[in-house]
Amino acid sequence: MSSAAHSVIEPSATSKRIAGGIVVLYAIVSMIPLFWIIATSFKTPPDSIAYPPKVLFTPSIEGYCNLFTTRTRQTADYINSLPPATSFCDETTRKRNMVIAGQSNFVPRFVNSLIIAFGSTFCAVFLGTLCAYGFSRFKVPLADDLLFFILSTRMMPPIAVAIPIYLMYRELGLSDTALGMILLYTAVNVSLAVWLLKGFIDEIPREYEEAAMIDGYSRLQSFWRVVLPQATTGIAATAIFCLIFAWNEYAFAALLTSGTAQTAPPFIPTIIGEGGQDWPAVAAGTTIFLVPILVFTILLRRQLLRGITFGAVRK
């Protein structure tokens, strides 16, 4: 028998250490952009554009102040005539010879993102669960073709889909409405939901339902009381995937919404300050936008593989 050092299944301690070292190095390097986003959100505008880039700096929440407010430039005399500043944001703004003029659009855009992401996720998971159960348990004519059709709707380039959708929504009065976006995201996500959930439901033994039906449950009752409780993990994982897609989506949102229903992704790049992009404010918006995703990624880590391959690969 060859020594352990030559084995693929039982790697030696040294080879483990080298492998671990390289992977950790990669992880650190790939985290730098994220670290930089968070760091920039706590910098003042001058610190954010300093050369060489500042790794150590005095943290400030000016970026967050600028994210939530709009400001106008005023003369020093006018600012001195104002009553004393009431908040940190007030004070920092005045130091830059400006006063807070009002609320920015960030909160409404963020709320739009929440409404559209949750609304479309609910609809996609609801429809997807029913449809997946149908394909999993019944002999549907042309089942393979229909399933492929469902998947193929996801292959279309979003811009190609957006052209006729734009015209259709204009006719129906759905342009720039949350309802329009919810419908669209539901249609995009339902293909993922059907494919993922079919995999999860296929794994639930049919015997459970058959036993329930012998005990007098109807088909619908056994679906509701036997299959659904068994599929909760799968449904939750699917819901999170749909949520992440709808949350991150940019192409449709940028082309089909402009004001009232605009979501955060097309809004954040448009945050500008005086003389160009206000990077600390952009970074602050990005940070707030990314936090939910980071939480969900950690929750989902066991189901990730399945989700990203439409259920083609299961662990």
Partner: protein, 322 residues
């Protein structure tokens, strides 16, 4: 009705149902399986017909016309195949296709190499490999638009962190590194961001492939004293191949459609050097408002994705069944 009454009724119905033959029982107990099947599948199909198929048919119709969405009152005139002829004969279209091909080729190549290497290393199962995997996976879950936008900041000449690090290691003055405005560097700027973002995706699929190889095959190879190198080429790689190809398929389709990240990073510029197909389509459809022309382009792109994916799936199945 009281609960007691309801349960008596229910029990009576149950007894009745059990005594009757199956088809009658099904009717008594509720909907037939066939009705349930259509009730469950129908709504999804209707939604997809309304939001995907109907617009697609409309786009096919428009692709044969000179319609312009910014002039809805102008009469629509059929122009036959001339939109298609113009696109396929247009030099700019082919340049866009070349830009797309360049982007797809290099992103897939880099992501496969780095992703597979990482998966291979993680499969050594060093201490903390599960935690390391989770950390590595984070970039792919983020919004390509929002994060792509931030990369513009990292790429700024002089003040950008990326520029600073490159200049630190190469000695090139940081004012001369302008990733987004240089004709030669801009295509690589988008390739770098895409690779940063999606290598974890490839890594995850490759890892599944490596883990699907049963230990006894390696054990047998070790009994035969096959070298690690030999084991890699004749066991690891061939057995992980279907997974690698699956990753190529998914990344290929996604990057062929690439829009958000490129739109925010370079917007297709400088000039048209990074104008991938989706960006051309957006310029034609939503800036020049040549709706008929861009519909034809959209159809061509869709047929291309669909055709390539179909061929690829066939190859994939052949590899899998081998």
């Amino acid at each position: 009705m009281t609960d007691a009454n309801a349960s008596i009724l229910e029990r009576a119905a149950e007894t009745a149902a059990r005594a009757t033959p199956a088809p009658v029982a099904a009717r008594v107990r509720g909907l037939s399986d066939k009705a349930v099947a259509w009730l469950f599948i129908g709504p999804t199909m209707l939604l997809l017909l309304a939001i995907n198929i109907f617009p697609l048919i409309w786009a096919i119709y428009l692709s044969f016309t000179n319609y312009r969405a910014n002039r809805p009152n102008e009469p629509i005139k059929g122009v036959g195949l001339s939109n298609y002829r113009r696109i396929l004969g247009d030099h700019d279209t082919w340049l866009a296709m070349q830009a797309t091909a360049h982007f797809v080729f290099w992103t897939i190549l880099l992501q496969m190499l780095i992703g597979f290497a990482l998966a291979y290393l993680i499969d050594r199962k060093f201490r903390g490999h599960a935690f390391g995997t989770t950390i590595i996976l984070v970039p792919m879950m983020l919004s390509p638009a929002v994060v792509g936008n931030f990369w513009r900041f990292l790429y700024q000449p002089q003040i950008g962190l990326f520029t600073y690090i490159v200049s630190f290691f190469t000695g090139i003055p940081p004012t001369e590194i302008d990733m987004l405005s240089s004709v030669t560097l801009a295509p690589w700027a988008i390739i770098i961001v895409d690779t940063w973002m999606w290598t974890p995706y490839v890594m995850l699929i490759c890892l599944a492939g490596l883990r699907s190889i049963p230990d006894y095959i390696y054990e047998a190879a070790e009994v035969d004293r096959a070298s690690n190198w030999r084991q890699f080429w004749s066991i690891t790689l061939p057995m992980a191949l279907p997974f690698i190809m699956l990753a190529v398929l998914f990344r290929g389709i996604e990057n062929f459609k690439m829009f958000d990240m490129v739109n925010l990073l370079t917007g297709g510029g400088p000039g048209s050097t990074t104008e991938v197909a989706s960006i051309t389509l957006k310029r034609e459809a939503f800036e020049k408002w040549r709706t008929g022309f861009s519909s034809a382009f959209a159809i061509i792109l869709f047929v291309a994705v669909f055709g390539l994916a179909n061929i690829y799936v066939k190859v994939l199945n052949r590899v899998k069944s081998r």
